[in-house]
Amino acid sequence: MSAQPQSRDTAARRWRGGYAVLYLAFLYVPILVLPVFSFNDSIFVSFPLKEFTTKWYAQLAGQPALFDALANSLKVAIFSAVFSTLLGIFAAKAMTRYRFPLQRPAFALVMLPLVIPEIILGLSLLIMVNRIGLSLSLYTVSIGHVLLCVPFAVAVLLSRFEGFDRSLEEASLDLGESAWMTFWRVTFPIVFPGIVSSLLLTFTISFDEFIIAFFLTGSETTLPVHIWSQLRFPQRLPSVLALGTLLLVASTLLIILAEWLRRRGIQPDKQPDM
């Protein structure tokens, strides 16, 4: 009697395995279009493939505007990642370590940007910047990005801080350390993997963000805004593909680096987050 459900179970598992492979293909095939056609010697992205070429990559080197945009994006992304992770640490610690009145509404407010369409966040910021009389710049983009990144940072860090045993901090205080040193010697090392995850996630979100940046960017543009402007010109298409390929490689390397960093840190729980 027990044999039949057993085999039905394995059959179901096989189906799911097959489905998983198909799903991965659905995820990856559109992305692999970028590298494949970036080496194709034709300005049209279509089959059949022509000669192999690296000229589109060479063409990238001759675009100073691209490098400016890349530098701008890096600046904005690093600022947003560091700042939103810092704010995330504060909020996650306040949420897990303390009880205070209006805690839940305050938390909901902090997480709210997650469920407001980006276009509305961007436009309302544009209105405010306009009212105050600020000029649009990388700073205004950064403000928007910090706002967008904070809920992600909080979500990632919260799962770390929640698994964190409060008596560890008390033990440190008990052994004579100050609150600040306790943070550096106990809290920080233990939640370090979470901080890396948060920095990485927020960096990527900001580096990649287009909608808010589109409204809040001034004369200096970020990389996605630059790419957007290039998409209108068909003859620029192959070099956009080349650029996309480079970004793909860079972000893959970044993930591997982050994973390596994270494995060096200890994990209080076995569950991988993110």
Binding site: L168, A171, S172, L173, G176, R185
Partner: protein, 364 residues
Amino acid sequence: MANSDAFIDIRAVSKRFGSVTAVDGVDLAIRQGEFFSLLGASGCGKTTLLRMIAGFEMPTEGDILIDGQVMTDVPANRRPTNMVFQNYAIFPHLTVRDNIAYGLRKDGLPRADLDRKVDAALEMIKLSGYGARRSTELSGGQRQRVALARALIKRPKVLLLDEPLGALDKKLRETMQLELRQIQDEIGITFVFVTHDQEEALTMSCRVAVMAQGRVMQVATPRELYETPNSRAVASFIGTMNFFEATTKGIEGERLLLDAQGLGGIAAPVPGWQVNGKAVVAIRPEKLQLSLDRPQGEVSAAQGTILNSTYLGDRSHFHVRLDGVEAPIAVSAQNVERSMRDDLDDGTPVWLSWRDTAMVVLPG
């Protein structure tokens, strides 16, 4: 009220969490070098009291003094106390060695001195070869000992232990009880030990405070607690106790005359008792004797029937029904004679007898 010999002086301390009163007007004077236990059922406020001594909770009312100093405004990291946490709180990202050395960073010792100190501590807890281990790779007993060494290496004036043996199995717990006692004897610092295990409290402590619902019911040596509990609550919490409702009748010299349900008219040697009506007479099971015939001599006696019996090897437990007493009476008898046969079957009529000194009279 000031206790000249109090090393830890807890004065009228209360702690409320919102509407919950966790600790309710506690006064305690703990002496220097004492092994002092806080004993009580779950939720009675032991941990809260201990955390107030350590500085993790602030009293809502009252003050705590350690070695004559008011602790109210001294933060946890400046108090002369160290704690062994219930779950040990071993830092997972540090090795055993770094865990033990954690609290010494501030002292700025030369490397060699620090190593020597840690080595000595490792030796004391019999984990000499384990210094380089990740602390996540330790067994429960080993973690407990690392937590102990980490706290003791700071040479605190007071060591606080919150149910440190609760997570260990019975055998290991007994070994650790012994080791803790030995360590305390050797270094002679004050231990405040929280437990809900009465046997543990009785075997290890110099004195025990019995707590219930945030209040201290009695502070006494283990022997005093067992032999002369001061209330029905303490008497029933420590060991087994038979209770007999009674009314006081008068005083005859040094003795109090009572009329107890099931026991009849008795005289108990309790000087200074007010003759004011209600009282409870309490007798421990092992202080009652069972016999088939009415006993002779200087003892009181009452007649009942055996309800059931349990053979435990070295001794046997009986439940006896007495007329006029609702709860069965527990009796414990040493099995002095070697015997293969139970001559006290259920339903056998028997006599219970006891000496006058076996009785404790408690407020009704």
